[in-house]
Point group: D2
Chain length 374, copies 4
């Protein structure tokens, strides 16, 4: 049995999602390369200890450089805040480690391109964690599209609505500072629907966008008054794909009542699909192949043995959740590593998504359509 040691850098939301995935993949899948949790890295010692202990890491450290240097670490998993992605990825690549990085890849297109260059120069495997690609229902959507079940795709619509920012008393965190996060809803949530658009429909050629910051000042965490929010809390944009398809996208942190409402719809000449992250096991599929009298969107509960990944978990209709998408992602990563293939989505996909974000941001400033850099 071949094994690979993993260092997880970051212990909060994403650190937990990734650590869980590395552990669960071993229990529910049979990866050809078996991961073990070597070292956890975090800034806050108390939290780090609890995290490392809970998930069963062998070691814990507040120094991520030390973690990267370890001989027993073969893969560095970056779950830290956006501002340190580039530095960690570059050093990890130079140390010859495989690199798995949370989205958005970086704070800017230039930074992302630098990371891609670093991993390619070092010749190490690399993957960006666009976890939404790995829900069984999304994977099934991809299969249907690839099989031609939708015909030629004409339209892509995506809404990604959250409301965690709606309370003006919520303190200013790194996610609201441009120098740390790069952007707001754009890099945090729009990036997911941009990636899914690329995954399901193909490259985006041009965009016109609108960025808005509804809540412009928020309390500083130290109680010393209000600080300025320097990123968008809402982003919307229109797009044209290389294929001629059109796209309409919106994301926001202030849609009162919406929690993790990511809704996708893809319309083609022969059929359509839609999917929602708040009911993630279900894929809706409409086909013109059905007899006219019984045409309708089918509510496919993608939990059957026939559906991607689902057979490894529970019987049909036993619902899978958010975290499972990460398990599937690391399963694909491990399989690619074992088979010597390049994992997908790679840093190239991370860069491509970043190029779209960058075009949107510039378009919003220049108030006109702009091409996406390629």
């Amino acid at each position: 049995m071949r094994e690979i040691g993993v260092a997880v850098i970051g212990t909060r939301f994403m650190g937990r999602a990734h650590a869980n995935a590395w552990r669960q993949v071993r229990a529910f899948f049979d990866p050809p390369l078996v991961p073990y949790l070597v070292v956890a890295c975090g800034r806050d010692e108390g939290n780090l200890r609890e995290f490392a202990n809970g998930f069963g890491f062998e070691h814990a450290t507040t120094d991520w450089r030390e973690a990267i240097r370890r001989d027993d670490v073969g893969l560095v998993d970056i779950c830290a805040s956006n501002d340190v992605h580039a530095e960690i990825a570059t050093l990890a690549a130079e140390a010859g480690k495989a690199v798995f990085c949370e989205k958005p890849l970086a704070r800017s297109l230039t930074e992302a391109q630098g990371m891609l260059q670093a991993v390619e120069a070092a010749g190490v495997p690399h993957m960006v964690c666009f976890n939404y690609r790995f829900f069984p229902a999304v994977r099934l959507a991809k299969e249907l599209i690839s099989d031609g079940a939708l015909g030629e795709i004409r339209q892509f619509h995506a809404l990604y609505l959250q409301d965690w920012g709606v309370d003006p008393k919520l303190p200013l965190t790194w996610r609201m500072k441009k120098e740390l996060a790069g952007s707001g809803a754009l890099g945090d949530t729009a990036v997911h629907i941009v990636d899914l658009a690329r995954f399901l429909v193909g490259e985006i050629e041009e965009v016109v966008g609108m960025l808005t910051t509804f809540i412009k000042k928020r309390p500083l965490p130290d109680g010393s008054g209000l600080g300025e929010v320097t990123v968008d809390d809402s982003a919307a944009f229109l797009a044209r794909f290389a294929s001629g398809a059109t796209g309409v996208f919106e994301t926001t942190r202030v849609a009162t009542g919406r929690k993790n409402f990511m809704h996708l719809e893809v319309n083609g000449t022969r059929g359509s699909i839609r999917w929602n992250a708040e009911d993630p096991n279900v894929l809706w599929f409409y086909s013109l192949e059905d007899p006219p009298k019984v045409r309708g969107f089918r509510r496919i509960v993608a939990t059957e043995a026939e559906h991607p990944y689902a057979g490894n978990w529970w019987p049909p209709g036993h619902i899978l959740g958010y975290e499972h998408s990460f398990v599937h992602a690391v399963y694909e990563l491990l399989t690619a590593l074992a088979e010597g293939r390049a994992p997908e989505p790679s840093f190239r996909d991370g860069v491509a998504a970043q190029a779209v974000l960058e075009a949107i941001a510039r378009s919003a400033e220049e108030r006109r359509w702009l091409p996406v850099a390629t």
Copy 2:
């Protein structure tokens, strides 16, 4: 153009639904026999005048016997309270008029049988208004079942939940008095799901039931204190059909939050359907003929030209409502009359439903399974 004059007896909820149907059928369908509204009958003169005027009746009277006697009346439409159904139907039949009667046909099986005897003895056409049979989606369900799309039917489930009785301050009306209504939820709402069960699955052979009256006293309308509710406000029963299929039924007037929630599901060896009266244009259909990977309940919006009745109204997706079912019912009645066929559902169906209700009521008393009289 052949025409038929209609007398509508009753001017409240059902009187309005029927009068509307007689009028709309002429505008949206092309019935081979054209109805015109000759006379409206009601007890309250003020309300009667407004009703007759609003719907364009030629005449109005508080004496239903007079209405029946008119030479220009060819069809008597009974929308009065249950206690007078039998008398009106019998006199109308004796006068040679076609008879259209609201459900439940009567207050008891014996009374219903008497009505059937009367119309058959007189040789007049007769129909009972089980309007739910005439929603396009329900009709489509029937077609699918007849075409074998569900295979052999195994299970029928029906919930019919309302909450208009939940307020204990609601006064005692005729619907809550056994001598006037015959029964409560049983005759009022259970009768609809019993009829739909017979329509979609076939005859019911035996039942076991439970009747409950949660609110036992209510204010008298004249303010003179409380009066006793002498009918059930909730009914539930299990059933076996002649085919071997099983049935589970529940109806109630006190399901807080439920308005006109009639939910049906039919499971067969090859497929299933479900339907809900609060989203009445939609039929859900699951088929084992679909490839395993894309099996799911199809959400068919039954508003296409391919769907029963729908093409006579609006373009696809333009929602039809409750009242349309009555228009379709009278369209079928008029067509049958013009073609000299017996309309369906007939008083025989009314009697058959009543036999089921009677068996349920007796079963509830005797606390055991009982056969349905045939």
Copy 3:
């Protein structure tokens, strides 16, 4: 009882929806001014006769000028194709008749402004038929917003997806020719969501849009080959409202599987609402006033006596459909006429919507944000 004679010009989809409304309002409402159907006008004699007879018009003519001239006509109801709206409205106004006109008001902003000038110069009452304002649930949404239940509105999203154009063999009709229709999905369906945006959120200040024609040639109705589609079949645009709120809009005729899917969502600082035309009785409402533990979108079935218009129809939960919105619209029109008030929405609203459409069309050509003319 005061009465008003109505001439309906156009006998197809909209002609039927309006004729039905004029008739139903009398049966289900108690309008202070009672409409009677004087004359129906259409081009095809056979169809006209059937239409006039079915709805009970006193007269029928193929000459709309004749209809307008009649002394017994007090109101001219324009349901003809877009290219004749202006001429009919102008002559009707000059003849001193009240004018009720289907949307879009005209083929262009200039034409619409001319119509407004005509009715104002003549001093006649005028209304444009934005029927979606008159669904009980939409009206309830408006009430909640006016009452402040949503706080300050930040975001408006609207999707209006249909698929009647998806079949490339569908012949070229007037709706696909620029000279007859003015525009495609833009004027036909986008105009509804633009009007609802204005109704619920307020004036739109600037837009950036994208118009697409996916199917560029279609069979000519006479079988003589293919003709060019000269309008958009899909339109999408971003908007900023005068209030600072943002808007995202999309409409299309080629969203395979979507029938009359108009979906609205409005997010405010204190709450949110959403509504869908395919489930039109339901309003979803989320409020931050609810205790945190039980916050959620409420599914309000707007069929109670407390809800606008609903009490005039059936008991709670008995579903109203598409056509009812027109009945409510003419009820409001009749009431305004009787009370000497200006009806709403007026030709001013028609012009305002047209100005938004025009800005979108120009923005799509110039590929940049543009202000809406005021």
Copy 4:
């Protein structure tokens, strides 16, 4: 840190669900007593090894008696087939171990009572795994009911529909043999909704039931022909609770198209709730306390910090799945053990549910209402 060693007996569906729970509770909760996976027991050596290795058990054995005897095992977790529950539980109790047992507790009431006697005689802690009690939304339902938000409960409805048995070529397994399983859908799935009824509404006093076996013969696993199915594949029953509330229940393995469709509705004098296991994060709640104009079922996405268990996982709207209910169950078990309290639901609850099942089965034979033994 106090710890407890766990032996898991059974490595299939339930074995995996439990092993996962013991492991996850440590990562996502902070149990006062920390479980470690000492030994896994199963019959099939190959499968056992994979199971033990995947979940990180220290040991594996095909001899469950050996596992029970180990000094480092403090808790025996029974996930084996129903026919060995009693023997394992009894020996584990005699060995002084805490016992956690999958449902149904036993094959019959007598057997279940014996198990209860054994654990009580031995004085060891005991819990039965009715995992559905531990979904956040179900827990929230319980809180709302306890807080009086529904008033007095009148009606409980539960449907639990699956279709894994619909294919007649599915081989005969232990779940279809009376001597191994005790009963069919009754003990397998009805038992869950009986337990939830008791949890949410209280004790059931009398029942009338109907058991059906639609598919009476199935292929023997060894290919030697057909064998007889000796249990029900469908069960339905009516019930009266001690409180006077009524219950309607149905469960089946042959509802074509239904996967794990468990639907509950509880109607009370002041409000109602409903919940569905295929959309398990959502609780629907209707309250008469809301102003009439905005009453409706609230769709509560029970993933907020305010909701039971949810705060330990992911941010709001990030969906939890089926397996999480087991994690919460073992968290409650560990907490009770640490605090010296009796865990809930205990073997007493297992016995009480079994008494209801037994009454249903006898009622189905005797074709009449029967009291539930207490």
